[in-house]
Amino acid sequence: MKRNLPLIVAFISGVVILVGGFIPRDPFPRIESTLIEWFMIISGFAILLGQASLLRMNVARVAEKAPNWQYYLAGLISFGLMLAFGLLWGMEKTPGLLGQGQGIVDKLGTKPFDYLFENAFIPLSATMFSLLAFYIASAAYRAFIIRTFESNLLMITAVIVMLGRTSFAPVLTGWIPDQLSWLRLPELTNFIMQYPNTAAQRAILISAALGIVGASLRIILGIERSYLGGGK
């Protein structure tokens, strides 16, 4: 029963949206708008749930003095600081509990939340992902070995595209005459992206769309139940 009733809820909401997609007359548009507003509000609580779980996990690690607990404490302190700054003085044009905090803005140059965002969050986020550049360079040296005809095709395309998307491209093949202009790197790159790449990506999109239809129907009809989680 604990699993069946939610399946009925999923079925009803799914069918209402599906029928509403084909019958644009009252009451379906109103029901759809209501469901969408509720969806957004519940999403907000779902985000709260995620943050609460993370907080609980980190507090437990610090309390039990798990390995590296000092770093989790640093995480909790930064969480608390950012949350306090945001709630008290708000961010950018949004006022907080203490208004727009003009006094603090005069001292810091910006609101404390924005200060932390620009000088801590942005560098941390951007640098974390920029590490990938090093890994792709290392992988290029060690892992991209040509063995078969198909991998040859992949590598040749990659070389053309990588050269074609640089500023060297017009210089490297600028000498090719106009009658064979399609062989010039920039034009060849555009050709590859516009035609064979589009064909393959379109095949992927079409196949994925059919997959989505199948998966969505399975969810609405209650055949797919993994989103309910384990247990009775």
């Binding site: 949206i17 599906l18 609580f45 749930l49 939340f113 040749i156 035609y195 393959a200």
Partner: protein, 212 residues
């Protein structure tokens, strides 16, 4: 004071940047510290924006200013609280209701929308007359799109082991996919390098002032 704080801010940004980069040499306390600070800031940021951009304007503000006119909003609020009960193992089953509502709604919407835009429109976009173009490059290219799309779908769809003539469209489909993956690899390299350019530009220009 503001100027001093701006300078301090740049040094803070540089400290965090170099702490993360230090991982390339090996894992170390600076990296571990920076990583956990990132997690903390990220979570708090999202929480603050959830409160100020979703919960206050779309729920609490409406309930507080016109409670009787917005009584129906008590339902999503209740469903939201039921969602929060997922944190407690014994009460987890209660969270299935709001989850089911969200999953049912989004499954139905994405089914309708993706079927139109990713299936019907894509099929229509493939059904072009290649010979309407004057340039040979466009004619050849359009034929490639038609052949490549059909062979690609053939490859994905007919997963039974293929023999003889039936192998040909699959093979052609794989070749087109390989070309596409090569193009994706080229673009991925571009994306990753771009991220590094941004960081080094910050260090050399804004921190060390080596560039005007």
């Amino acid at each position: 004071m503001a100027d001093l704080m701006t300078t301090l801010g740049i040094w803070l940004a540089a400290f965090f940047t170099l702490s993360i980069f230090s991982f390339l040499y090996k894992d170390n306390p600076f990296y571990k510290f920076a990583e956990q600070v990132f997690v903390g800031l990220s979570a708090a940021y999202w929480l603050v924006y959830t409160i100020y951009n979703i919960l206050i304007p779309n729920l609490f503000s409406k309930l507080l200013t016109d409670f009787s006119g917005n009584l129906v909003l008590l339902i999503p609020m209740l469903l939201g609280i039921m969602m929060l009960l997922r944190m407690f193992p014994k009460l987890q089953w209660i969270s299935r209701y709001p989850l089911a509502l969200m999953v049912g709604t989004s499954a139905a919407m994405s089914m309708l929308l993706s079927f139109k835009s990713d299936f019907l429109e894509q099929m229509a976009a493939t059904m072009i007359n290649p010979f309407k173009f004057t340039s040979a490059v466009d004619v050849v290219g359009t034929i490639m799109v038609i052949v490549g799309t059909l062979c690609g779908v053939f490859f994905f769809y007919f997963s039974k082991k293929q023999e003889g003539l039936y192998k040909v469209p699959s093979k052609i489909g794989i070749w087109f996919l390989m070309v596409s993956f090569g193009a994706s690899f080229g673009y991925t390299v571009m994306a990753r390098i771009s991220l590094l350019i941004g960081r080094l530009d910050f260090l050399l220009r804004d921190w060390l002032h080596l560039i005007k």
